[in-house]
């Protein structure tokens, strides 16, 4: 591949490595798997860089990372996508060791990570893309490949579950 092409790839894509890694960590619940998948996803993105000329490089990369995560799980995990990884151990692994912010974040984080980790993957991914990466419904729809209406209804249902598990649910008078 031409040097200049790789340079423009690096300029457009590499700034989004942190986002790519965060998404992979939340989907896979394992730091080491997330590292391997992100590396694989970036190299795959480089191969398909011809097909990407303009548009949102972040959404484009995240879509590839997401697909690689699910392919990885199909390949290496017999327990499949419907199983969530919500135990305290994987949740603390996700904290990492190099994040100063990690030490500062309150104990509420552990509670929240557990609640999000126990969501089914199709709910977990919309929550991470919306709340962590602050993407629009249109971008989330591009990344996940489902219509915007489905993005909205998944977000609504995911939040209902989270509100319930975090004890925020409002008692309806009726």
């Amino acid at each position: 591949m031409a040097h200049r092409e790789v340079e423009s790839f690096e300029r457009l894509v590499l700034p989004h490595l942190d986002d790519a890694y965060a998404l992979a960590c939340h989907l896979l619940r394992d730091e080491h798997d997330a590292q391997d998948v992100v590396q694989e996803a970036v190299l795959r993105a480089l191969r398909y860089f011809d097909g990407f000329r303009d548009g949102d490089a972040r959404a484009w990369l995240l879509a590839i990372v997401r697909n690689c995560c699910y392919t990885w799980q199909r390949r290496y995990r017999t327990d499949g996508l419907s199983v969530s990884y919500a135990d305290a151990e994987t949740s603390s692994q996700l904290r990492g060791t190099d994040t100063d912010a990690g030490a500062i974040r309150s104990s509420d984080s552990a509670v929240i990570d557990r609640a999000v980790a126990s969501l089914p993957p199709e709910f977990r991914e919309v929550i991470v893309l919306r709340e962590l990466q602050e993407l629009s419904y249109r971008e989330i729809s591009q990344i996940t490949g489902v219509p915007m209406g489905t993005v909205m209804s998944r977000l609504a249902r995911a939040r209902k579950r989270l509100a319930s598990s975090l004890g925020l649910l409002i008692e309806e008078a009726s």
Partner: protein, 252 residues
């Protein structure tokens, strides 16, 4: 607006995904309906808690280094040293070239000047290769002084393997690597997520050279020699901490 309609649109409303006139209707309803307003309040505070509390892990430097390494190999930037897919071939050729040049003893000074940059490049390329999965160590440290004896009989120099754990540089292990056409002892330390490779081999030059830090393709490379041993250190760690490491390593 009825409550049921309001509840259906609430998710889109908190996400700022409604058209301006729809949002206006929502605001009116929320101002007049306590039950829907409470639900709206709950969704907003949930959103806030998620944004503050969700783990936001940053890509570790080791991963970034692995990716940079893989990308630089795809451009052929390092093609003169390593060939994509067959990383050893180019390296052995480079080693052979240095061996040929070393044949003429009268060119000692020129050879020294010429081989330095080539060695630095090979040190870096060995460093980058070590970051690929499964390449970092041949022997992992098990905290019982197993690394130093592992080199016995494998290389013609027993490398320094000081324990610097208490200084924040835990020992990861050791491996054999190839630099300048010879097998060299490589001792691996870690600083947070950063890998530090220490390469050493015997040299006939017994004069000591104090450490010199240089930058190779964005990585720090430190070179010095101590009484017949040539040492090279490569890492993506910042220069200040890397030099602190070198000072501690040499103190042993």
């Amino acid at each position: 607006m009825r409550c049921a309609e309001c509840r259906d649109a609430l998710t889109s409303y908190v996400d700022g995904e409604l058209m301006p006139e729809e949002a206006e209707t929502m605001r009116d309803h929320l101002a007049s309906c306590a039950a829907c307003a409470a639900e709206h309040e709950m969704l907003q505070s949930l959103s806030r808690r998620l944004r503050e509390g969700l783990a936001r892990p940053r890509a570790p430097d080791v991963l970034k280094a692995r990716i940079r390494s893989a990308l630089s190999q795809s451009t052929g930037v390092l093609a003169d040293v390593t060939t994509p897919g067959r990383p050893w071939t180019g390296l052995l050729v480079a080693g052979a070239l240095i061996a040929v040049v070393s044949g003429g003893a009268s060119f000692a000074v020129a050879r020294r000047e010429a081989s330095r940059p080539a060695i630095a490049e090979q040190v870096l390329s060995s460093h980058l290769r070590s970051l690929m999965p499964g390449h970092l160590t041949d022997v992992a440290s098990n905290d019982s002084h197993n690394v130093k004896p592992w080199f016995n009989g494998r290389v013609d120099l027993s490398p320094l393997v000081p324990r610097l754990d208490s200084a924040g540089f835990p020992l990861a292990g050791g491996r054999l690597d190839y630099v300048g056409g010879r097998t060299v002892a490589t001792v691996v330390y870690v600083r947070r997520q950063h890998v530090i490779n220490v390469f050493s081999w015997p040299t006939e030059d017994r004069t000591a050279h104090t450490p010199v830090t240089s930058i190779e393709k964005g990585y720090h490379v430190v070179h010095w020699s101590d009484g017949g041993v040539e040492l090279w250190v490569a890492s993506d760690l910042n220069a200040r901490e890397l030099e602190q490491f070198v000072t501690l390593y040499r103190r042993e």
